[in-house]
Symmetry: C2
Amino acid sequence: MRKTRYNAYAAACPTRKVLDRIADKWTVLIIGLLEQRPHRFGELLRGIDGISQKMLTQTLRSLEYDGLVDRRAKPTVPVTVEYSLTNAGRTLTEPLEAIRRWAERHIETVTAARSRTENGKENRG
Amino acid sequence: MRKTRYNAYAAACPTRKVLDRIADKWTVLIIGLLEQRPHRFGELLRGIDGISQKMLTQTLRSLEYDGLVDRRAKPTVPVTVEYSLTNAGRTLTEPLEAIRRWAERHIETVTAARSRTENGKENRG
């Protein structure tokens, strides 16, 4: 019964917002790193080639807000801030890894389709 | 050996682009509908509450370009255009459904985390 209450196809359904958050390439990459071990901000920034500082900050804040990532300041000098997965965040690693794996496995099919389209365009016009 | 050639953590890796396309809420919702049966444009538009005509057109074009969705014009009067999954597109349904299922299963945990954050803010400020 409970299951039918939620429907991501309805714009106002809260699952739509969650879907928006987790179906996101930066989320996939961040969660993938945190799955291995906690990371500091700078480590995440260096680990994800091409992400801007602003985008990383925003995505981490959203993930923290949603209770998927934990932000912890350690009382060192200077203070070090570490990000790790919460229990809820850990449940997300499996479906997101499947997405990453799909991308790596099917990249050649996709690349081939793209060049077919490109060639088709050239032939036509 | 081949597997190590691709790495979505590198900005220039082609898998990054693919990840960008498939880790997207509209892709998840479109593929979810096409998984059931081929759909016409208008059916997709009505089926996905809140998607704009422009966004649906763009996403379908990208999916077609990547060889995941097939666009077929039927010789009816007037011509009807139908979208369906290609074989490659069908391999994507399982990982994307896992994402949708996760959103529906964990929405209450996420909502609870959000209200905790909100309450924390109020108490502090």
